[in-house]
Subunit: 143 residues, 4 copies
């Protein structure tokens, strides 16, 4: 696969939501972006607060912007908060530096896109993203 | 129903996409917003150009911003382009004044949200939105 | 080719500039974007005015945003100026609706990116883009 | 030389990229701005993440905005993060306060422009910028 198609994106969302539901997570919002950072599919579960799309988008968009999972961007933020603040601004404000933004690669390692999840703890958000990506037969890069 | 839940939003998207597919429309992007203008669900079909989410969002967001289907906003734009340009700017750039942004109401007339569709002609985009909304047992307001 | 690499982008720029030079065009600015709308390479010729990068970027970014050459976006603007103004705003202000923004496709028709050129007349800008793209063995879509 | 012409900018880019390649750096993005902060030339190497142009631009633009290499802006950020955050906002979000944004001066000390590089560590990014600038017979100011 060289691009992430809609059916695969929907499968990732379904897998991530199933993971969250079975693990008892709070309502999740799942955003799937293509490799250029553009929205393919989104689902916000009932009870999630109103701006969860923007937060999930920012996790995925940040991961694509810098070429690393948002867990690594958090690590950088803990060392140089001013750098991450500046990059957030430079890329238009759409970068959320906590876990839950995970790169999606195919078996050959090519970048297909990213998944951003928000709603529970950042670690749980990330776990749901990984479950969704791997359940679709793809590779998840969290850092 | 007093709020639009995710399963209903997904049903609207499925109905709109089925309408487009059976009618031979070009790839559609379907955006469903709640009554506060926040994303519930999105699907962008394979082959749609990269910024279709933003355009579909703008149709639905404009409809909610002014309380009328985007067909009526187009009519206003044809008479007073400067008014629509000013409102577009005032609401942050996310108002697209052509058909395809349709309000969603329940049987009692209460506002539940809006659907924005883009990809084919504006008239066809609107027809797909109406099909999706009515297929979910709700009422579509196009103007 | 499934992605536009830097060497091909540089070849497109060289071909476009050679076309402009031999045809006696005014100084050109050539912007090459990937399929997600991100900068691969830019060259602004001596004597070009200061904001030519932004204009060339906007021609290419608009073409990618809507999936058509910027010549077609101009045609739409001549019919519904308010629509193009609204979309310009919805995609963040980076859409310039005159010829010179040309989609780049491979022999199979897959989208690789876009070229935006500015500096001479819009028709001449477009001709330089086509020369650069075709000289690199790729297909140019102007509308 | 009183202005940085395109051929010199291209020479700087070639020298910086050659430095990175021979040193085994990760894929670099090199941005060259004139003394007014406007793009002259850009090259983003294959494999660099999508928003590297914006980051490289921000390093160079910040250097020009404050009249010092971005290494000095980092030093200021470490002392007064709020000042750098405020200036970042004041200049429109395009200021990235880590090494890799280097001023370009001629032999008489006149300011010609700036180079911004991103992709490897900030120190390595800066080293590539210096190599490119000095290779073109010009003077690099890193702080």
């Amino acid at each position: 696969m060289s691009v992430l198609d809609l059916e695969t994106a929907r499968s990732i969302i379904a897998g991530a939501r199933a993971h969250g539901s079975s693990a008892g997570f709070k309502p999740l919002t799942v955003v799937v972006l293509d490799a250029g950072g553009h929205v393919i599919a989104v689902e916000r579960e009932d009870g999630a607060s109103m701006k969860r799309f923007e937060i999930g988008f920012g996790k995925a968009y940040g991961a694509l912007s810098l070429g690393m999972g948002s867990r690594s961007i958090m690590a950088r933020a803990e060392q140089q908060a001013f750098f991450v603040a500046a990059v957030t601004s430079a890329v238009g404000g759409t970068l959320v530096p906590v876990p839950g933004g995970v790169l999606v690669r195919d078996e050959g390692g090519d970048l297909l896109g990213a998944v951003g999840i928000t709603g529970d703890t950042s670690d749980n958000d990330e776990a749901a993203a990984v479950a969704g990506i791997e359940g679709a037969g793809l590779t998840a890069q969290v850092d």
